[in-house]
Subunit: 263 residues, 2 copies
Amino acid sequence: MILNKIKSSIQEPRITLVGAGPGDPDLISLKGVKALNTADVVLYDALVNGALLNHAPEHAIKIFVGKQSDDESFSQDAVNKLMIDYALNYGHVVRLKSGDPFVFARGFEEINFADSYNIQTEIVPGISSATGVPGLHKIPMIYGDLSESFWVLSGTNAKGEISADLRGAAKSNATIVVLMGIEKISEIAAIFKSEGKERLPVAVIENGSTHEENIIVGIVDTIAELIEDHEITSPALLVFGNVVSVHPAFDRIRDFYAVLAEG
Amino acid sequence: MILNKIKSSIQEPRITLVGAGPGDPDLISLKGVKALNTADVVLYDALVNGALLNHAPEHAIKIFVGKQSDDESFSQDAVNKLMIDYALNYGHVVRLKSGDPFVFARGFEEINFADSYNIQTEIVPGISSATGVPGLHKIPMIYGDLSESFWVLSGTNAKGEISADLRGAAKSNATIVVLMGIEKISEIAAIFKSEGKERLPVAVIENGSTHEENIIVGIVDTIAELIEDHEITSPALLVFGNVVSVHPAFDRIRDFYAVLAEG
């Protein structure tokens, strides 16, 4: 009897890595909601919509572990350790990350770290903004003669440099989606220009799928100016490719260049 | 009074395009579930999990519009027309598609067709198997020195041919995800071989995120044989790239080649 009592009071430590999706709180998966429903602790990132925390029980501990600018208090190392510590002491930790946890986020390192402690882990994928957000604006990734594939890159690699893959991407016929690239837009546009793609259509989507969403559509040649004029800031994603030309806002740009060509 | 009565009995026609996710019925978004909850009609594809239909009201009409092999009764044209017809006569049509509706599926054409009838449309993105399924197997898309980007392609393009983009993909350092490529595996592997990538790690995931899920891990040189030996069939996705080497099943392959190298 006493043994049973002790057993039932000790929570089984486990960690669920949940992708919260691109921003709209209703774009989390049903599986993610169910994980939150049974959370004892939620560790969440900066870009995670706060409304999602309402899916966790009232008693659950909710901790913001997002990196704020110049604030190094929550390094990846610190998050890893918090995750283990809370799992061992409280039971079910939900690690809530924006987008999909295995695309750009450090989901792999976090799961590996938990595995090294023999703590049970589960992964719940999320809608990556790379695929979900352009679709919300009726920009298809792959479409007829316009594109047969799409290539997703980060604006900067792990070393903080522009990825060498961007040059290959600019040469290719794929739809190119660049996440976290808005601050490097001039350098990124220069790479496309060096491949003779000054007039390639580009869409910039800020705060995709949220109420603060903004989209601008242009071409490589002028996109950096447009971003400055419209004061678009992070988080925003860039879509380079002919598929952007199907967006209604592109009609006026096409007309403009048609006039120039005839003039 | 009479006018009001008539008005309230006529449903406002509208169409919601919903991504059902990769297979696990709990990987649909909360927003997708809410759309289904208010559906008068659900038009669903072959790869959509039947359990999702339980989110629709009992009175809702549920119609399978998936293409079965050699059965041309539901062409894209027929689906488009059904969608409009049901919206005008019944109200809210949910068009439920596997994965994300704007990645490979013909979501763009369907939305465009509805727009041409001035029917109100909404898009609910889904988890694309391209990003969600490898993550479920703890294979990251982007990871440290192993990969700085990922490139998603279809095994065949709109004309039924292998996409010309595959050659560029095989040359690149990106993680390459090929959807619907299992039947063309010999030709696809040959492209990677022609780029000297015989030993590039490959994962094949069949029925990702469902109870019938299967994963095999190998290298380009032998993947076609492995697929045949394990009788892997469609739907399955292919992941080419060094990120696959972090999968536990790859250890034994690495050891095998290490032995060969020393032998």
